[in-house]
């Protein structure tokens, strides 16, 4: 493999990895606080993309307004989903909540199919954000740089929020112990809503970034990134925000490099992601940065 090609692969890995990471952070935050695989998270990507799509093409908003509105509406939607579909099940068995999440995801997809139609639509990339960069034999989009930067900035923001602010401390406290947190006058529901707010906002940004990178929106577009990013979050150690980042990058790099070095196995790429997931679950259930917990008898 020549140097150029290798560098090209590295650039590809970074883009894919940071997209995975961006979405995985949302998964990990929600899982961290209420131990739920939020299947609907992936569909928020789709919602955000469609809102941005309609904002730009139908309401002819400038792209930045469309993006901001998309993120805001997605956030509201994420918080509402929590209120309607997860909060009533707070004391229910985890399986019930998980089924509820599957139900929400199912509903969002099918409502989108009925309302918007099943046919994919091209996502308008703002020219100000997307252009081609050529460096010798390597060629890539500005997004290759933009996406990691956005991911990194958001990661730092979220880290700051969770580590340094009062709300962040409350989130971590709630994730450990609802009851004791409420004894500290913490409104647990509000904290959980806030977590969903941040998670959904990240899904919104993630959805827009995803749609710029792969400029096509359709009702089922969340399905695959959803599963992949959840895998990334588990790999990194679910509940850990830097873990999600690492997991996203590890998965992105693995996926690119397996095709690069073993092109004959490229058909097995998706299986490979699951294989990593299962291996991690079996040998290091807490993930790369996660903690291992033992059930008390």
């Amino acid at each position: 493999m020549s140097m150029d090609i290798f560098l090209q692969n590295v650039a590809n890995s970074i883009t894919l990895g940071s997209l995975y990471a961006l979405i995985a952070i949302g998964y990990t935050m929600v899982y961290g606080i209420i131990r739920l695989i939020n299947f609907a998270h992936a569909d928020l990507l789709m919602v955000a993309s469609y809102i941005a799509f309609y904002g730009i093409l139908v309401f002819t908003l400038p792209w930045y307004w469309a993006f901001i509105i998309a993120v805001v509406l997605t956030t509201i939607m994420g918080v509402s989903i929590e209120k309607v579909a997860y909060r009533p099940l707070r004391t229910a068995p985890r399986i019930s909540v998980l089924i509820s999440a599957i139900g929400v995801s199912f509903l969002l997809q099918n409502v989108a199919i009925v309302v918007i139609g099943a046919r994919p639509k091209p996502f308008p990339r703002p020219e100000q954000l997307v252009w081609n960069i050529n460096m010798g034999d390597i060629s890539f989009l500005s997004l290759t740089i933009l996406i990691p930067i956005v991911t990194f900035i958001l990661l730092l923001l979220v880290m700051f929020l969770v580590k340094k602010t009062k709300m962040g401390i409350a989130m971590r406290a709630v994730s450990r112990d609802f009851e004791t947190a409420s004894l500290m006058s913490v409104d647990v529901n509000k904290v959980i809503s806030t977590t969903f707010m941040i998670g959904s906002a990240l899904a919104g940004v993630g959805g827009i970034m995803w749609s710029m990178q792969y400029p096509q929106v359709d009702p089922l577009m969340g399905l695959f990134p959803g599963i992949k990013c959840f895998i990334a979050a588990v790999m990194g150690g679910i509940g850990s925000i830097p873990g999600a980042m690492i997991g996203g990058f590890v998965l992105g790099i693995c996926e690119i490099m397996i095709v690069a070095f073993l092109p004959a196995l490229s058909g097995y790429r998706d299986a490979f992601a699951f294989v990593i997931l299962i291996l991690i679950l079996l040998f290091r259930p807490g993930g790369i940065l996660g903690e291992n917990t033992v059930e008390k008898v």
Partner: protein, 353 residues
């Protein structure tokens, strides 16, 4: 006690006889459309109750059913297709010589489909069942996808994405409902045996179950493999019903449909799953109405809305889990005891008046 037992026995026989009469009548008199829907219901009954065994009775949140179905469908198809068909169908790369000449009758192939699926269930279960709850869910979902991807890529065995065609067609309701009824009976026997109670004990409280001398791992594995066995059989029947298979049939979204059946019917109720499997399969067709263009007295024309059926099902799933978590039957079973008691109490009330 004995009296009641006898009554129940007679009632059971009567119901079976009634079903037989219906099948006998239906095979000749129903249009092939209704037969197909009823046969498909039978397949979903098998899928529903076998998933319920794993999910509802043993409490393992496994989402791998579509993978085992996939194995069953392929095993049955490859075993029953005629060598001539195989030669034509595998036009990209020829089939592995060992498989090329095989042509089994249908029933052994169905059994074999179950056995191979169970074997895979066993192998998948060994690592996966060390996990719990949503981790188990995501791992089994992963395994199902891995199975599907392997099937897609092993072209000399499965013909890859091109899928298989010219699988012998089976239309008789006897086969589908016969197997479905046998499955119901077997699972009912299992559930009511001390193994079944052990599964429920594991679901209720793993730690206590272990302390009662139940080997968690082997019992979970047993339940999981039985589930896979019947999923494999259902896959085989699916192949015979449609007569062609390809890997995209068995995406994990298919498992969600079975999940819908199990949740609506009630996790932990076999009869619940049976009723909801039949009801959902039928509703799936009945609800086509909502996707057709609607015409209000020729005044207002509403264009058809493809996808509306699934919206209704998604809403149904959500409403059930939010407001009616037990599903249709909860963990109860629809049985004679219940009805006989009802009649008894009714009679008593009548007598006392």
């Amino acid at each position: 006690m004995d009296d009641k037992k006898q009554i129940k026995f007679i009632l059971n026989i009567a119901v079976l006889a009634l079903i037989c009469v219906f099948l006998w009548w239906g095979n000749d008199n129903l249009s092939s459309f209704y037969i197909r829907i009823l046969n498909l219901s039978a397949i979903f009954v098998i899928l529903g109750i076998s998933m319920n065994l794993v999910l509802g009775f043993t409490g393992m949140f496994s989402l791998g059913h579509s993978g085992f179905m996939c194995i069953g469908a392929y095993v049955a198809s490859i075993l029953t297709m005629s060598p001539a068909s195989k030669e034509i169908i595998y036009f990209m790369e020829p089939i592995t010589p060992i498989l090329a000449q095989i042509q089994w009758p249908i029933f052994p192939a169905i059994i074999m489909a179950g056995v191979v699926a169970a074997l895979f269930g066993f192998l998948v279960g060994i690592p996966a069942l060390r996990l719990r709850d949503d981790y188990l869910a995501i791992a089994t979902l992963g395994f199902a996808e891995i199975i599907r991807i392997i099937v897609t890529n092993t072209i000399t065995i499965t013909n890859g994405a091109l899928g298989l065609k010219n699988i012998p067609s089976v239309k008789s309701m006897w086969v589908y409902w016969g197997i479905a009824i046998i499955t119901i009976i077997i699972l009912k026997k299992i559930v009511n045996s001390s193994w079944g109670y052990s599964f429920k004990a594991i679901r209720d409280n793993e730690i206590a179950a272990e302390a009662m001398g139940i080997n968690l791992f082997s019992h979970k594995l047993l339940s999981f493999s039985i589930g896979a066995f019947f999923a494999g059989i259902a896959g085989a029947l699916m192949a015979f019903l449609i007569t062609s298979v390809d890997p995209t049939m068995f995406r994990f979204t298919f498992t969600f449909q079975i999940l819908l059946i199990v949740v609506l019917g009630g996790m932990g109720s076999l009869t619940g799953s049976v009723i909801s499997a039949v009801a959902i399969t039928i509703l799936m067709e009945v609800l086509r109405v909502v996707e057709e263009p609607i015409n209000f007295f020729g005044l207002l024309q509403i264009p058809g809305l493809p996808g509306m059926r699934m919206v209704i099902f998604a809403l149904g799933l959500l409403l059930v889990i939010l407001y009616y978590r037990q599903g249709l039957m909860g963990t109860r079973e629809f049985n004679w005891d219940y009805i006989l008691n009802k009649i008894d109490s009714f009679r008593k009330r009548g007598a006392s008046m």
